[in-house]
């Protein structure tokens, strides 16, 4: 607006100018103060999630979460302590930096000292700390797949007595049945499960609804174009879309880089969806080179063929980048895919890792082909046995994973924590995050009902690495059967080194988990949750 609009004819020009100067000065001072206040306020203070978390931790009986409140009240005795944490570098660590860390300090006076590391290196840093016993780490993030090794070698402490002491038993009952047992090993609880990393199929509704594409597909294959339900159908549809739309859009494009995220996840899922098993449970001979394994690998190679060039070196973040730019029509991926597709995470400037989504409102959700989605990676919050602050570290873990605080954390407009509690899947607040969030939560819940787990047993890291390497050699053209034979030999060698009897017991323990195979998923055990 121009000054003329506000000119009052009864006020002299001098008075007017004086008043204007005052108004401008006033405006500048107020703006400056507001800007300074915004700049000075920590990021976590500005979010509604923080307000809800504080209310749940300290509020009255009507709103408070007793599990969170108990942890906060008990932890206040450790005020002034500095607690060592480790989390995955990048988006996951934003939770510690921008939310849980500062909030915990505000509530209890305990500071958190964060170490960041890429996913696979979290394991190596925890082991290194266990060997060095420096006391640098107190509360750690670990994958369920590493738990048997960490429990066997007493890297972590069992927390059953602490759960009883701090009255947190109810926190376990609210977990989806797929996740309920993942922090338990040999009859003890070794941490709090904290990340529902189950894969789903994300597809472009606009592409699958494209009339010309549908007609062309029907003309070619004599059936309707639909969201694929088997891997053979997936490969056919993906290649068809690539043939029709590349280089603008490719049928698929999932991160195949060595160790990032790790190709074993893809194999684990499809291999079991095809009916495979990892070992002969009696002899412990590896079975990852049989006919089912060869079929699985050939399916995976066909997916690469329908993907953008360079997919063999694509890490999962770059895979998301392609998806968000609308370059791929379908991806099988972790739950943040649904949120980043709607720009839920990118609305926070702290989440600068990924571009803004160009496919808002166009994403559909389905269970992965073969129906058994992989529960890939995930995190448990544990307490290091070498920690000198075990009680404080435990209380932080109890608070952060309590139903109310974890709900806020899985709804944060950054980080990659995903819903894992039944209360998360049913949360009205979450369902309002974007149009279609209710369908997203329902899909994740259903995917967890049918999911298969990562191999979680002694030596899991070594087995995964050997398979990951073998898969990249097949991407580079090595014969599938001979590469799988080599991987199987390496698995046998790992088994022999760790001891066949020990490994047999460890594998038998793994097979007891719901989701260890495609035949004992949560749904097939009659424990499916209706979300």
């Amino acid at each position: 607006m121009s000054d003329d609009v506000h000119h009052d004819p009864d006020v002299s020009q001098e008075d007017y100018m004086s008043g204007l100067r005052m108004a401008r000065r006033d405006f500048l001072i107020k703006s400056g103060l507001a800007a300074a206040a915004i700049a000075a306020a920590p990021t976590w203070l500005k979010t509604e999630q923080a307000a809800a978390a504080i209310e749940a931790s300290t509020g009255g009986a009507a709103v408070r979460d007793p599990i969170a409140t108990t942890a906060v009240n008990a932890a206040k005795q450790y005020k002034g302590l500095s607690m060592g944490r480790i989390n995955e570098a990048g988006p996951q660590a934003l939770d510690d930096k921008n939310f849980s860390g500062p909030l915990w300090e505000k509530l209890t006076g305990i500071k958190t000292n964060l170490t960041e590391a890429p996913f696979a290196q979290i394991r190596t840093k925890i082991i290194a700390e266990d060997l060095a016993k420096s006391g640098a780490l107190d509360s750690v993030e670990l994958s369920p797949a590493w738990l048997p090794d960490f429990a066997d070698q007493e890297v972590l402490i069992p927390i059953d007595s602490l759960i009883r002491k701090y009255k947190a038993q109810a926190t376990l009952a609210d977990l989806h049945p797929l996740y309920r047992g993942l922090a338990r090993y040999k009859g003890k609880t070794w941490g709090f499960f904290d990340d529902g990393d189950v894969w789903a199929l994300y597809y472009r509704k606009d592409i699958f609804g494209n009339g010309k594409l549908k007609s062309a597909y029907k003309a070619k294959f004599k059936r309707d174009l639909r969201v694929p339900r088997t891997w053979d159908e997936f490969n056919q549809v993906a290649q068809f879309i690539t043939d029709q739309l590349a280089p603008k859009v490719y049928g698929t494009g999932m991160g195949r880089a060595l160790g990032n995220p790790g190709n074993q996840f893809y194999f684990f899922q499809q291999f079991r969806a095809n009916g495979g098993r990892f070992f002969n449970p009696k002899t412990m001979k590896a079975e990852i080179n049989n006919a089912i394994a060869v079929k699985t690998m050939n399916q995976i190679l066909l997916q690469n063929k329908a993907s953008p060039p360079g997919v063999e070196k694509l890490d999962f973040i770059s895979g998301w980048g392609l998806w968000l730019q609308g370059k791929t029509a379908m991806i099988m991926a972790w739950p943040p895919t649904g949120r980043i597709s709607e720009n839920i995470l990118q609305r926070d400037k702290a989440f600068a890792t990924l571009p803004k989504s160009q496919i808002v409102g166009k994403t559909g959700y389905a269970r992965v082909p073969g129906q058994n989605g992989e529960h890939a990676g995930a995190f448990i919050k544990g307490v290091m046995a070498t920690s000198e602050n075990q009680d404080a570290a435990y209380l932080y873990n109890q608070w952060a994973t309590s139903p109310s605080i974890s709900l806020q954390r899985v709804m944060l407009p950054y980080t990659l924590r995903d819903p894992y509690r039944i209360s998360h899947y049913r949360s009205p607040a979450y369902k309002k995050l974007w149009k279609g969030a209710d369908k997203y939560l329902e899909t994740l819940c259903e995917a967890a009902n049918d999911a298969v787990l990562d191999l979680s047993m002694s030596g899991a890291g070594d087995y995964a690495n050997a398979l990951d390497r073998a898969m990249t050699s097949m991407y580079a053209g090595k014969d599938v059967k001979s590469a799988l034979d080599e991987a199987a030999r390496e698995w046998d060698s790992i088994t022999n080194k760790l001891g066949v009897a020990k490994q047999r017991a460890s594998y038998a323990n793994f097979l007891k988990y719901p989701g260890a195979t495609g035949k004992n998923t949560v749904r097939k055990l009659g424990q499916a949750v209706k979300c």
Partner: protein, 286 residues
């Protein structure tokens, strides 16, 4: 009193060199593996045998050998050519020399990361640039396809370390007195004869020094592999250092990794010993 004066230095050497070396020797002969618990029974030569039995280790040794020889040979030739070109003063020589040595100051991890970005499909510029000089569209995965992945690794190392050869050889060339070339000229020697019979023999000790340093360094090739290929595809670009890193610090098979490191160190010691003897031969003869 004199013992008191040297005590700090001795203590530092014992604490930082002798003790770790002795400890690692012990680790090489015991079971020291995270997945097998914190008991460390004596296993004799098992850790060494485990390495020899592993085909990935054996392949990594051969790969390290041919990587080192190929890289150093190319760096020597390019370094010598550059040194000869830069021997005589010309306009812009100082600027060019500064530009040539910049790669030496860059961390090898960064060099690997840079080449990774350069060759990575579909964003990297490598294929686009190759399309300018090659008829038709070039669609090579330089960090995945054989033999391109090896060529990329060699190029990355050559890009970084050719300046090292260049600097040392230029210093050597500058030290050759002009009078020798004048004498050769008076005897009717052509430039190529002067190069073969004057330059090369006098430069040979310097070449041997440069090659020795670089071979020892190249045999430890790790950083570029770590940031460019992570040893992949499969184990196709595992060097021995990368293999040992993975055994020790990713799998925590510390006994096997340390055993392998001792074996590798002994091999390198023999090679270095042979090279140093070659180096000292002219001095001893004189």
């Amino acid at each position: 009193m004199r013992w008191l004066l040297v005590a700090p230095a001795v203590l530092i050497v014992v604490a930082l060199t002798i003790f770790p070396l002795g400890f690692s020797l012990w680790v090489a002969f015991v079971q020291y593996d995270f997945a097998l618990g914190d008991q460390h029974p004596w296993v004799g030569l098992d850790n060494f045998v485990e390495n020899w039995k592993d085909p990935v280790w054996r392949a990594s040794l051969w790969r390290t050998a041919w990587f080192s020889v190929t890289m150093v040979a190319i760096e020597l030739m390019l370094g010598l050519l550059l040194a000869l070109a830069m021997l005589r003063p010309f306009r812009g020589r100082r600027v060019l020399m500064t530009l040539y040595v910049i790669p030496l100051f860059i961390s090898p991890v960064v060099v690997g990361g840079f080449f990774d970005l350069f060759v990575r499909r579909p964003y990297g510029a490598a294929n686009e640039l190759a399309s300018w000089v090659w008829p038709g569209e070039v669609a090579i995965d330089f960090s995945q396809d054989s033999p391109w992945v090896y060529i990329t690794l060699i190029l990355a190392d050559v890009w970084q370390w050719t300046p090292f050869m260049f600097v040392i050889l230029l210093a050597g060339l500058s030290a050759i007195p002009d009078t020798l070339y004048e004498a050769a000229d008076l005897d009717g020697a052509k430039p190529r004869h002067a190069f073969v019979f004057v330059t090369l023999p006098l430069l040979l000790p310097i070449i041997l020094i440069a090659v020795t340093f670089r071979l020892i360094d190249a045999a430890k090739l790790f950083d570029i592999i770590f940031s460019l290929t992570r040893g992949g595809p499969g184990t196709d670009t595992y060097t021995t250092s990368y293999y040992l890193y993975q055994q020790g610090f990713e799998f925590f098979h510390l006994g096997q990794g340390t055993g392998g490191a001792w074996m590798f160190m002994i091999m390198l010691t023999f090679i270095s010993f042979w090279l140093v003897r070659r180096l000292l031969k002219p001095v001893e003869e004189a």
